[in-house]
Amino acid sequence: MTETSVYIHIPFCTHRCGYCDFNTYEGLAALIPAYVDAVVKEIRYVGERVLGPVVVQSIFLGGGTPSLLSAAQVEAILRAVGEAFLVLPGCEITLEANPGTVTSGYFRALRSLGVNRISMGVQSSRPQELTILEREHDFGAAIQAMKFCREAGFQNVSIDLIFGLPAQQLAHWQRVLEDGLALNPDHISLYALSIEHGTPMQRMFSRGLIEEIDQDAAADMYEWSMNRLAEAGFCHYEISNWAKRDEQNHLMASLHNLQYWRNQPYLGFGAGAHGYFANVRTVGVLAPGSYVARMRSLPVRERAIPRTPATAAAKAVDRQDEIGETMMMGLRLLEEGVSRPKFLARFDKDLDTAFPGVIRELEKQGLLEDDGERIRLSRRGRVLGNRVFVRFV
């Protein structure tokens, strides 16, 4: 039985960050109770119609700001998942939290509901950077939130940091990463800032008020980070992700994200949530109001799972696409890479037959490593991943 993951999108924020182009909304907090009801309904909709048991290995509440939900609301959602599907014991349950929106009591409540992983949006420690990103917290709030997490008993806490900000220099970034490490997280995600269309930051950029830092500077930051994090005992298991090992020497990688990178199935619930189940990619209607309305008045016509009344678009993934996506995602995993036997088992086709000559060529260019059993990005390939991925999609 293929294990599945569940993603739940919580699109609400008290303030939308300057760089954010995800499906998020500010000023809609009043909609949260109805929205949670709708999510519960959507989960049940799938649970009631899907054939056979769905075994869930990870649940991820992402956003937006899921920590805007009350513990009771989180509980309602988790209970719905537990009733609709078969949630494995030890299932990884992550909630994204923003410093400044959380209390010690809140974390204790989450812990008691079974949430066992917190992903904290720290982003930076420098006040001027937090300002430009339009984050509502300062680094003090991040320190405090971390303390609350640990007090509540969370043993798997991840932080997000952003590098390559306008005007950021290597020394600035080094300070930020050192501060991040000082929080003693178990897992770190580092993202290079990209200025996305339609964001306040992009408008500032187009007016010439801020400048994108050049790729050489961003590369310097990333390369320095790789060394520093290795020194701090982190394993660089995915292009943007590093994890420590726990006492049993288990890598504390995000099981949920591994599901994406291994191109395995996940159900998506909520406004604009993406899903990939039974070889169909789905995306939910974006606007939270529409989402609620759609789930309130269920249509007479049944929709074939994984489609739900809230599904805005669905696309079947053919074999060729699946192969390309498996490569593009799998090669992001720096240790695991793409394994020849697994590829053969999944596609009934030899990796080298599927991409004749390509692997050899990329290896010659110094972008790929091939140990016969698996192919992986080389150290250089990590920063030039796109050059590799394009050869497989």
Partner: protein, 600 residues
Amino acid sequence: MSQEHIRNFCIIAHIDHGKSTLADRMLQLTGTISDRDMQAQVLDTMDLEREKGVTIKASAVRMAHTASDGRVYELNLIDTPGHVDFGYEVSRALMACEGAVLVVDASQGLEAQTLANLYLALEADLEIIPVVNKIDLPAARPDEVAEEIAALIGVDAATVLQISAKEGTGVAEVLEAVIARVPPPAGDENAPLRALVFDSHYDSYKGVVAYVRVVDGGLRHTDELHHIATHITFKPVEIGTFAPDMRPAAELKSGEVGYIATGLKTVAESRVGDTITHKAKDLPHALPGYREPKPMVFAGIYPVEGEEYGELKDALEKLQLNDASLVYQPETSQALNFGFRCGFLGMFHMEIIQERLEREYDLDIIVTAPSVEYEVLMKDGKTITIESPAKLPDEGDIQEIREPWMTLQIYTPTEFYGPVMELATKRRGIYLNEEYPSHNRVQLNYEIPLSELIIDFFDGLKSRTKGYASMDYHFKEYRAEDLTKLEVLVNNEPVDALAAIVHKDHAFHKGQALVSKLKDLIPRQLFVVPIQASASGRIISRANVKAVRKDVLAKCYGGDITRKKKLLEKQKKGKKRMKMIGSVEIPQEAFLAVLRLSDE
């Protein structure tokens, strides 16, 4: 109809002065075409012509018109190409006429091609009917422009007609003037047949259709005919007139304009300027002025995708069916692989061919920077001609290199005298003299190498004169110059498609400019790519394209992988549009970088 009631005329004008609109109005007024069928600018049948607002190929139409004297006249309007690249075609079309309507825009006044075409018309001994058009425009100054024209051709300003072709004002008067002032044809009806081919097109059913003006004698559709210049004999498939579509007729008589469907396979067999006569032992003298088309500008055309070579070849073959002045031969470039070296009458002709290949034949092509034909005198006394900079022999074996020089007329408002002078001088132009054909306007006469003209000169002229200047040029002679090959090495390999022949005095500056341009155009690769320019065996400039450092996507939030995939697919498409030179990807724009050097 007797010759007495025939008038053969053309309309000559600078681009956009309203030639086609006036022709349209004449067709409507004479009932040749109903208002309902009127598609703006009927004579310009190619989409490209309509879009560019110029006539690329000549065309003809017969109109019947009842004049104020109550008699019916046969009016043959012969349309002439409106661009300097087609000077020869214009001159042949003029030879088919007895009169010319000279159209001048009431707001623009005289322009370079007004003058150039006027001189051609006077050379062909045509009766000129001057007309000021667009008098409805707010900026029109009809009286002033009429004065200018009158002064130019030495007539009374009162005889210059003032019209608005767009609104139909004064068009009937133009037709009356054609009938009254243009002399009827004066050919000898009883002499042996002589028909001038002034244009042709290829028809897939009837073969090459020659547009002819019967000068002497006459022909019947059953006659066996002969081309005097190409010596090709044929029996017509059909003969007839343009009304405005081809309408078959049994005979064409002296003074008439019509067509002969020859059944021949390429327009090169029935060339513009050739004389058609009856097949006979004693041929009459050919009509004067026939010339073989001589391409002046050369460029390589390559398919972006190697596998489209065959399609490109087919497309060029088809274009050549209709265009005897397009020449091409296979060429191999180590950079661009297999393609064709093509010869054109000029830059405009080249642009048209390029656009037709892209639009009508849907081909992705790379066109290299244009070049002229050089004559190279070797030390061993032999002279060779080369059309491609890459083919220049080793400098040590060369005695001298000669390049084509042109006479150039630039016609501009006097306020731009300085900027025009500066441009021409920068491009090695030699100032000859100046004329003031009208108030506030100066005609500057130069000699200039064609190689300097074909690279962005016209654009430079337009931008320096706010679009007011116009130009005309003609071949003068080949001259020996101090020239050298400017070579470009990408990743230490010379790229033939980027080579250029330049004057030695300009080599250093151009080499530097080219290198810095290429440095910006060539994207960063996996390794450092040195770009060098060399001339006369010395490296004169060098720059490095740094190796790419970072190219990777951030994580996929919430499992949204389709967006990342789209980005990758876009990146992949971008790569496809590049040419691999050795192990370096070079975008298409780089091959045209040589073109833009003059701006720096």
